[in-house]
């Protein structure tokens, strides 16, 4: 049958439906039939049956398409979640690496990045702390000595 052929009457349509149910129609004829069933106003048991059958297939195809879309959304969601996790993990590792290798000082709001300068500042802090600690030890020793003298 010609692709451009227009189904002109109900009988022709029913004949085509009969051929469709017998599995004798071409793809082009099925397309034509589907279009005619959607557009025409003819009714009969056979036409309704064809409408139902083809409508059912259409709905089924739609459902399958929706299912595919849902699956596709699901896969996209999982992929995005994995990407997010990898991103967070990579950031955490990078952040950990930076945190694990720092040598910096902030003096009155100015940044000191020179390792030697920073280590010198540390040495200064430790020396100050050491002097105070030593003073405390000396105090304790003299207190101990005084107590010993008292005991004698």
């Amino acid at each position: 049958m010609n692709t451009n052929h227009h189904i002109s009457d109900k009988a022709e349509l029913e004949k085509l439906i009969g051929r469709y149910f017998d599995g004798e129609t071409t793809v082009q004829e099925e397309h034509q039939l589907r279009q005619c069933l959607a557009d025409c106003r003819w009714n009969s048991e056979l036409i309704d049956e064809a409408r139902f059958a083809m409508g059912f297939f259409a709905i089924d195809a739609q459902e399958r398409s929706r299912g595919r879309n849902r699956r596709s959304h699901h896969i996209t969601g999982i992929a995005a979640s994995i990407a997010l996790l990898i991103g967070v993990g990579a950031f955490a590792l990078w952040h950990q690496h930076v945190r694990d290798n720092m040598c910096v000082a902030y003096v009155d709001g100015s940044v000191v990045n020179d390792d030697d300068e920073v280590m010198a500042l540390i040495r200064q802090d430790l020396n100050t702390m050491g002097e105070a600690s030593q003073g405390m030890s000396e105090q304790l020793m003299s207190l101990g000595a005084a107590l010993e003298l008292d005991n004698e």
Binding site: L84, Y106, V107, D108, D115, M119, M129, A132, S133, G135
Partner: protein, 150 residues
């Protein structure tokens, strides 16, 4: 998708909150907000350079600002209350010197130590400086004390 992202973010937030809760009171001094402050010297050393001192973390603050000094003292005293070992000296009702072992080192975890000094209360040449040093390392308290005696 949105639900998954919300769940992941909620988990991250929970973990972060729990980690923050496990921290010390002095952690609020080390959150970086003193970096741009005048009258404050903050030093952060971790990794290789800290390893040269036998430590894994060295973090200190020294300030000439009285309010900041008092804040440091109050937080040190709070954390010091839970120390497993301490060596402190008060002068005129104020903390002058403190060495605290906040956590003794184990095979799995480094020890945590604090040094505090208020040089305003020093008898010999007092200075308007309050210093706090936080350290983490595998060494025990005696090894840490040796660092300041070198």
């Amino acid at each position: 998708m949105k639900r998954t992202i919300i769940i992941i973010l909620t988990c991250l937030l929970t973990v972060t909150t729990v980690m923050a809760q496990q921290g010390l009171k002095i952690n609020r001094l080390f959150d970086g907000h003193f970096k741009n402050s005048p009258n404050v010297t903050e030093i952060i050393v971790t990794g290789k350079k800290a390893g040269e001192l036998g430590l894994s973390v060295y973090h200190s603050l020294a300030t000439t600002d009285q309010d900041k000094g008092e804040l440091i003292e109050s937080l040190v005293v709070k954390d010091g209350a839970h120390a497993v070992e301490k060596d402190v000296e008060y002068r005129n009702g104020q903390l002058y010197y403190g060495f605290y072992t906040l956590r003794a080192p184990t095979k799995k975890r480094d020890g945590q130590y604090l040094f505090f000094l208020n040089q305003r209360l020093a008898r010999k040449s007092p200075k308007n400086v309050v210093t706090l040093i936080y350290m983490e390392g595998k060494g025990d308290s005696e090894q840490i004390k040796k660092l300041i005696r070198k």
